[in-house]
Symmetry: none
Subunit: 124 residues, 4 copies
Amino acid sequence: MQINIDIEAATPLFTQLINQIKQAVVNGDIEPGAPLPSIRQLANDLEINNKTVAKAYQLLERDSVIQSKGYRGSFIHPDALTNSTIDLNQWVEKTLTKVITDFKQAGVTDSEIRIAFGHILKNK
Amino acid sequence: MQINIDIEAATPLFTQLINQIKQAVVNGDIEPGAPLPSIRQLANDLEINNKTVAKAYQLLERDSVIQSKGYRGSFIHPDALTNSTIDLNQWVEKTLTKVITDFKQAGVTDSEIRIAFGHILKNK
Amino acid sequence: MQINIDIEAATPLFTQLINQIKQAVVNGDIEPGAPLPSIRQLANDLEINNKTVAKAYQLLERDSVIQSKGYRGSFIHPDALTNSTIDLNQWVEKTLTKVITDFKQAGVTDSEIRIAFGHILKNK
Amino acid sequence: MQINIDIEAATPLFTQLINQIKQAVVNGDIEPGAPLPSIRQLANDLEINNKTVAKAYQLLERDSVIQSKGYRGSFIHPDALTNSTIDLNQWVEKTLTKVITDFKQAGVTDSEIRIAFGHILKNK
DNA sequence: GTGGTCTAGACCACT
DNA sequence: GTGGTCTAGACCACA
């Protein structure tokens, strides 16, 4: 599993972590039951703070994507696949719906949104 | 002019205000020279904080979309039409770029984003 | 609503907060829709750290017991009653089940547990 | 002697070990002077860490329940019976007191606790 | 003032 | 070494 953190990004670090771990699960890059790096080690590797990783792990555990076994480390939850797939797409739809609703409320037309969307996705 | 504020929206309240006022100008719902409601009045109507309206007005004035005439209240700027148009699309592009960047960073593919985008725009 | 924090207790501060707020909801001491004190103010009143209160609020929000409205403060969630009642009793049963299971595994008999339980509940 | 470790239990692993060994002594499942499995052996069998077993043995030796004879391994202490009995009930009372204190602090009433307690002890 | 995020230091019990 | 909890300081955008 390869994790890339962008410190400059708008997305909070812990959210980046969460999304990437979920994505890794969905992609099959990491299998249910597999051990995750310890909080401290991952924090070290990514050169971010322990607590930031801890927060991500804690939130992943509450969503049953990972499973903490106390001092013996954290593991991918048996049902991680189910609990990850839905979430990421839900997040995309939810976020996108939010901004589009905002646009339309401000009077932007569908076609204007489409054009802007086209621009952005093309140039990337 | 009809203003709708969505308190739950991701967009800050003052931005919503700004966008809607600009849009009203562009649409011709409100003409250059026309008076705007007072800060307190509008804040009252929308059930938001005075300072939030004040901030929106201040930024609109900075962009010469409205014009404050001291005690006599605020009015649509003579050149409001010119100064309102461009911004909105910039805002759309900027906002959309931000969320799409976040998506891709989380590992969502272009086609997944496209699909979600299609869903949302169709159902509205 | 009256909140008492015991800094010496084994239960983490944020858990004490959570439990007492849920309990206040269940008891009807605080109604759905009612505003909660701001994080900073409550922290001040209880003489604990901001972040500890923030953590409690965050967890309560995720359980839909309270509802954060951004900078405009937090409020009791409309469905708070549903989401609080079950939880507290579940917590009691779960915790109690855990320790009793531990006891029995260690070879303590039912009657021994009953006796100890009787002692403790009487002397309080 | 049969030892069962519950990795998910609230009770620390080393405490589970201690309790079960003491209990085995009290029940007469293992007699004073009898040899105990080596630390490594037991750790292996239970699939837990060497150091966890070592800690349990060390504490048992401190309480004169077992006796280390250097290279020749550990044995049940001659006075093990005397030194094992009392502790267990103390542990039960202490643990139970702790959780009940927590419950009441959270606003759970005596009768609620009694009811939950009744449920659990009946269904086992 | 208000919440959100990141960093950091310290303590504790458990492995 | 490992996770959990508490405290604290700093920064930011928002109200």
